[in-house]
């Protein structure tokens, strides 16, 4: 990450403009134990209280890191009930990085976010239908499978 992805100009701008970046050695305590870090690179999205909402392990190229970070931000806002902010991040991911590996999960969580914001289950079914049509073999299509019945 330090050799390829973190020096990338778009990555630098995105992280500095949108997040608080914290880099620590993998074995530093108590963080290593608290977050059960066993391999590097491990990237974790934390909310303002230090709670984890998203994690990736392994190298991510610049074109995959930014959408992964948007997904992490979206999940952080979703899981703290800030649905408008979550939707903004997920929609940005889907609009600007449509080929990213993060897209199927973003479609899934966007459906969940819309459902939680409105109590209308229709977005869950729409998420499944989009996943089935565009990402047939994704694990997120399988996870959304029950929503076909809504």
């Amino acid at each position: 990450m330090d050799a390829v992805t973190y020096p990338d100009g778009k990555v630098i701008s995105f992280i500095n403009d949108n997040m608080i970046p914290l880099q620590v050695q993998f074995d530093i305590q108590p963080l290593s134990t608290d977050f059960n870090v066993k391999w590097t690179p491990t990237l974790i999205t934390l909310d303002t209280e230090g709670k984890e909402h998203h994690r990736t392990v392994g190298f991510l190229a610049p074109e995959e890191l930014i959408p992964s970070l948007l997904l992490g931000m979206g999940k952080s806002y979703l899981e703290t009930d800030r649905f408008d902010k979550a939707l903004t991040k997920l929609e940005k991911l889907l609009a600007e990085y449509p080929k990213s590996d993060s897209v199927p999960e973003a479609i899934y969580w966007r459906g969940v976010c819309r459902y939680k914001a409105t109590d209308d289950p229709k977005p869950l079914k729409e998420a499944y239908e989009q996943l089935k049509a565009e990402h047939t073999s994704s694990e997120w299509t399988k996870r959304a499978y029950p929503y076909r019945l809504l």
């Binding site: 990450m1 330090d2 973190y6 020096p7 100009g9 990555v11 630098i12 701008s13 992280i15 500095n16 949108n18 997040m19 608080i20 970046p21 914290l22 880099q23 620590v24 050695q25 993998f26 963080l31 290593s32 977050f35 870090v37 590097t40 690179p41 491990t42 990237l43 974790i44 999205t45 934390l46 909310d47 303002t48 209280e49 230090g50 909402h53 970070l69 992490g72 931000m73 952080s76 806002y77």
Partner: protein
């Protein structure tokens, strides 16, 4: 465009900034070897 990522190096400083600036934290564990 910034030249480098402005990394924090301790969790307390990162949390303080996160609350003040209302931003999420990217916690990156690395292996220096």
């Amino acid at each position: 465009m910034a030249e480098n990522i402005k990394w924090e190096t301790d969790i307390d400083g990162a949390l303080k900034r996160a609350r003040v600036e209302n931003r999420v934290i990217l916690l990156s564990f690395f292996n220096p070897d």
